[in-house]
């Protein structure tokens, strides 16, 4: 076995954003399913939340390769 521990660390740190993305879209889907007319209100919030969670995941990815 060879490799770097950075990637193990990245794997661990990717759990957080993965759960976050799942929760954001679970809430978004159930919100739209209950009230379809609320979709245009919920959509930007869901996308921004997704962007923030995804940014953390990508930050970890870049740092895993750079550090």
């Amino acid at each position: 076995m060879e490799g770097t521990l950075n990637l193990v660390g990245y794997g661990l740190s990717a759990i957080g954003p993965a759960i976050a993305t799942g929760m954001i879209f679970a809430a978004y889907i159930s919100g739209v399913a209950r009230q379809p007319e609320a979709r245009s209100v919920l959509q930007p919030i869901a996308f921004l939340g997704f962007a923030l969670a995804e940014a953390l995941a990508l930050f970890g990815l870049v740092l895993a390769f750079v550090l």
């Binding site: 959509q43 930007p44 996308f47 921004l48 997704f50 962007a51 923030l52 995804e54 940014a55 990508l58 930050f59 870049v62 740092l63 750079v66």
Partner: protein, 63 residues
Amino acid sequence: MAMKDEGNALWSIFGYLLSGMLFWGGVGYGLDKWLNQGYFLLIGLLLGIGAAIYLVWLRFGRD
């Protein structure tokens, strides 16, 4: 129609974040190599993330 909007938006968001981080992080990495410093990379990455999230807000966040 519904699938189209959301699928498109999600892939675009991913692309913006990735390219923001790659471009400004790359600039910071280059400055680090050039000036023998250690902090430009971090500044570049944070700047890239900030700009990319701002771009996402411009495209998908505002009404």
